[in-house]
């Protein structure tokens, strides 16, 4: 059995070759090799290898698949961004470098994850404050009103809020899990937990609804709401909470659907995009054209026309991969996410403390929901929601927050080491 850090290093080398290969392919097709771009790619590769070295030296025994999977997704993202928006490539390189730093810090801090449980209310407060700040001060950039601009810095607080919300819910729920399974009140046929217990859940739900209504951010609303319901279910084991939660959300959605035309538009173009392909459904129809034109093998990098899709470098980057790398590329991306999310759940189940189990599971759920919502939206499996694709989409907030999240998962996976005998 080879050493797990060795395995990690081997996989990182393959991921690095994939990135360099793709960047060279794009450069050659453009008949112009930008040595700055190549240098930046080498820098990113070195960054990943350095993180591996640091982890090795510090004797970490965390899951060796997390980092390489992130590296391959980041690599595919960089290749695609170089192809569709070369002017953003260098910025994304910076974000990834920052993200790698954040990963190491996150791994280091999460060794004392249990202590964070003491600050659960602070976490909850920060999470809610971040979300509210987006609601109150949010600026509309590219159709999503969830940006905060502070001087030269602009970021999407909802990307970071999810980590704090997960920490808060995990701490709150794991502390009260007896309460949740036992102390219930019967209201007719419904079994409801004690009101004190579900108060924070109601808060998260209300914020989700607020975001839904005020910010038109259906994706974030679904994400936080789904997170609250699923984490409650994990602790309580009661499916009735899921049903109650879903009914609440459905009621909210139906009200929104009837009162807000933009929700109607979103749903209508999902149900029948061909009724207005050049108007309201333009984006999703263009996305489908891109995916369909890609076919199985894809057009080849630079040979497709993904730039026909508006916002292709953030929300629709998956369609660009689907067009130029075909089902082969896009399908592999989904498989990478499946494996990463599976490993996150595995870390959760192998963990020994209920709190860290809940944190890992919550982070896994948030990653799964986010991936499902955005890919589902882009391929018209689900109404479109403006949300980023973890590790691939362009954007500092998204990249950095996902690296922090991954660092926490890595750290939790250490408790029971990969090859612990």
């Amino acid at each position: 059995m080879i050493n797990i850090r060795q395995l990690e290093r081997n996989l990182l080398v393959v991921a690095g070759i994939i990135m360099l290969n793709g960047i060279l392919a794009v450069s050659l097709a453009h008949e112009f090799i930008d040595y700055q771009v190549l240098g930046a790619a080498v820098l990113i590769f070195t960054g990943f290898m350095m993180v591996n070295a640091v982890l090795c030296k510090a004797g970490h025994v965390g899951d060796p698949l997390f980092l390489p999977l992130a590296a391959v997704l980041v690599g595919l993202g960089l290749i695609t961004i170089l192809r569709i928006k070369p002017e953003l490539f260098m910025l994304q390189v910076i974000w990834v470098s920052v993200g790698l730093g954040a990963f190491v810090v996150s791994v280091f801090l999460s060794r004392r994850l249990e202590q964070i449980a003491y600050f659960k209310y602070l976490c909850g407060f920060i999470g809610v404050a971040l979300l509210l700040s987006a609601i109150v001060f949010g600026v509309d950039i590219g159709g999503n009103k969830n940006w905060i601009i502070m001087g030269p810095i602009r970021f999407q607080p909802s990307e970071f809020a999810k980590i704090f919300i997960v920490l808060f819910l995990a701490a709150y729920l794991s502390e009260r899990r007896e309460l949740l399974t036992l102390a219930t009140k019967h209201y007719g046929p419904f079994v409801l937990p004690h009101p004190r217990f579900i108060a924070p859940l109601i808060t998260v739900w209300s914020i989700g609804m607020l975001m839904f209504i005020l910010q038109r951010d259906m994706g974030a609303a679904l994400l936080y709401f789904g997170l609250a319901i699923i984490m409650t279910y994990m602790v309580s084991g009661r499916f009735s909470y899921v049903i109650i939660g879903m009914s609440l959300f459905l009621i909210g959605s139906i009200i929104c659907y009837n009162f807000y035309s933009h929700i109607q538009v979103r749903v209508d173009i999902w149900l029948n995009p061909w009724s207005d392909p050049s108007g309201r459904a333009y984006q999703i129809v263009q996305s489908l054209f891109a995916l369909g034109s890609g076919g199985i093998i894809g057009s080849g990098l630079t040979y497709g026309f993904p730039t026909m899709i508006p916002e292709v470098h953030t929300d629709f980057i998956f369609a660009a991969i689907g067009e130029e790398m075909g089902l082969m590329g896009a399908g592999a991306v989904i498989m990478f996410y499946i494996i990463m999310i599976y490993r996150a759940f595995r870390a959760s189940m192998l963990s020994l403390m209920p709190f860290s189990m809940m944190v890992a599971a919550g982070l896994a759920v948030s990653m799964a929901l986010q991936t499902f919502l955005i890919i589902g939206g882009v391929i018209k499996f689900f109404p479109l929601t403006g949300i980023t694709l973890p590790f691939i989409s362009y954007g500092g907030s998204s990249i950095v927050s996902n690296f922090i999240l991954l660092g926490m998962l890595f750290s939790i996976s250490e408790v029971r080491g990969y090859n612990a005998k």
Partner: protein, 471 residues
């Protein structure tokens, strides 16, 4: 405590299973979109990819028979733009190519060859772009741009159509339709061009339906001889009009009474009474057979000509008056100029009609021959002997009949004029014919819409086209 942890693990396992299943479903749906729906999405008319893709490679050229460029690609910025040096002159044949409005004519019919992209490599990913990266293939037409230009100018400001065919091969030498448009300006002028009530986009040679008028009489003459209703000697006494029971009166166009005339004379003066009589004697069945023999019910003919079918009357229920009308090219009978040129060519080519064709050969960008089109026989509607007799009479039409304006010094020209009444206004002027009659090189059909008499309007135009074609 341990038990409790086990429950938690169980619940997390269920959630993991559920969420990972959702992602697997996503994968399956993605496969459905990219495999099953792929063709539908790729070829969807709103998907601009195929057109955009074509503009990143250099199209081949469209050339006339003497390698004159009719269409070529010029790089403008990142994309190639089509240029048409002869602008409106051959616009309907060559066609246009627009990112927004698609393609027409040869640009559309031979797009696959012009872009050099054959479908067999389109699904192999990046490699297909390298295979298609070099300039597309050149398409060489049978068209002679000099004849085309002469014909285009000869039509002047009239609406109408001219088609010239080599009767021995079926090669189309000229195909003019007016009014025309400038394919270089298709994007800028699309709105005007596409909504113009005179339909400049329509290729009148293959898609314009007109009553043939007296030009059809050459076919009736052939039928009468073939069915032995008349011979060259038989004379019919022709008054200024023919009463057809119960209440139809067929008149000569200038109300002349020709007296006793034979077939040759009748054709030269284009006697309505004579040919009305012959049509009645032929009867419905034999009339229908004649149209069939000359292929007027057979569609389409030849490569990508986008022909419209002629409109033939329903012979079985035709009254005598209408039958006589059909025999002089009126009534509900409507034909395309191309079909009239083909009818003419059968008499010029010993009774055989060759398949008309526009594309002579396809060569790659280095000049290597990829494909070549050889003349093909289409129909043998009549015998060589009958064809000879008809063509002699047609020579008479030009030498001392209505077609005299088509005559050329030193060249034996055969022809027939027509003046077709129509509901749109003044009569259409027709001329069909071929030259030289003793060794035919070119057969033509000329129609000038609402311009008056065939003899005075269409025949002089035909003379110019003959002269250019025989140079």
């Amino acid at each position: 405590m341990r038990n409790d942890m086990k429950d938690l693990t169980q619940n997390i396992r269920k959630v993991a299973f559920g969420l990972l299943s959702l992602l697997v479903i996503l994968f399956i749906y993605l496969s459905y979109i990219q495999v099953v729906q792929s063709e539908f999405l790729l070829t969807h008319p709103l998907n601009r990819r195929t057109i955009e893709a074509a503009h990143t490679t250099q199209y081949g050229m469209i050339l006339d028979r003497n390698d004159e460029k009719l269409a070529y690609s010029k790089k403008e910025g990142d994309i190639f733009k089509r240029k048409y040096p002869y602008a409106a002159i051959a616009a309907q044949v060559v066609g246009y190519d627009s990112v927004t409005y698609g393609r027409s004519g040869m640009e559309s019919a031979f797009n696959g060859d012009l872009t050099g992209n054959s479908t067999s490599v389109a699904h192999l990913g990046a490699i297909s772009h390298v295979l298609g990266k070099k300039a597309g293939n050149n398409v060489t037409l049978t068209l002679d741009i000099n004849v085309q230009e002469t014909a285009y100018k000869a039509l002047g400001n009239h609406k109408g159509a001219i088609v010239a065919i080599n009767p021995k091969t079926g090669a189309i030498l000229a195909m003019v339709s007016k009014p025309s448009f400038d394919p270089n300006m298709i994007d800028q002028q699309w709105k005007n061009i596409s909504t113009d009530e005179n339909s400049p986009l329509l290729n009148r040679v293959t898609q314009g339906l007109y009553p043939p008028g007296s030009t059809i009489k050459v076919m009736i003459a052939e039928a009468a001889l073939k069915e032995k209703i008349t011979d060259l000697k038989r004379t019919i006494f022709c008054e200024a009009s023919l009463k057809i029971p119960p209440d139809y009166i067929l008149q000569e166009s200038h109300l002349e009474a020709y007296g006793n005339i034979n077939l040759e004379k009748a054709l030269a003066v284009s006697s309505n009474v004579f040919f009305g009589t012959l049509s009645l004697e032929l009867g419905r069945n034999r009339m229908a057979n004649t149209f069939e023999r000359f292929g007027f019910n057979k569609y389409p003919v030849g490569q990508d000509l986008q022909e419209v079918a002629s409109h033939l009357p329903k012979f079985s229920s035709l009254g005598d008056g209408d039958l006589a009308q059909t025999g002089i090219g009126q009534g509900s009978l409507l034909v395309t100029p191309l079909r009239m040129a083909m009818l003419t060519s059968s008499f010029a080519n010993k009774g055989k009609i060759m398949k008309p064709y526009l594309v002579h050969k396809i060569t790659d960008s280095d000049g290597n021959l990829m494909k070549t089109f050889t003349p093909e026989e289409w129909l043998i509607p009549t015998s060589s002997q009958l064809a000879d007799e008809i063509s002699k009479m047609m020579v008479g039409v030009v030498q001392n009949g209505t077609g005299s304006s088509a005559s050329l010094p030193g060249v034996l020209v055969a022809g027939k004029t027509g003046t077709a009444e129509n509901p749109q206004g003044d009569s259409h002027a027709w001329f069909i014919g071929f030259a030289p009659a003793d060794n035919p090189q070119v057969a033509i059909a000329v129609i000038v819409e609402n311009a008056g008499f065939g003899g005075s309007i269409a025949a002089p135009i035909a003379r110019q086209v003959f002269r250019a074609a025989l140079q």
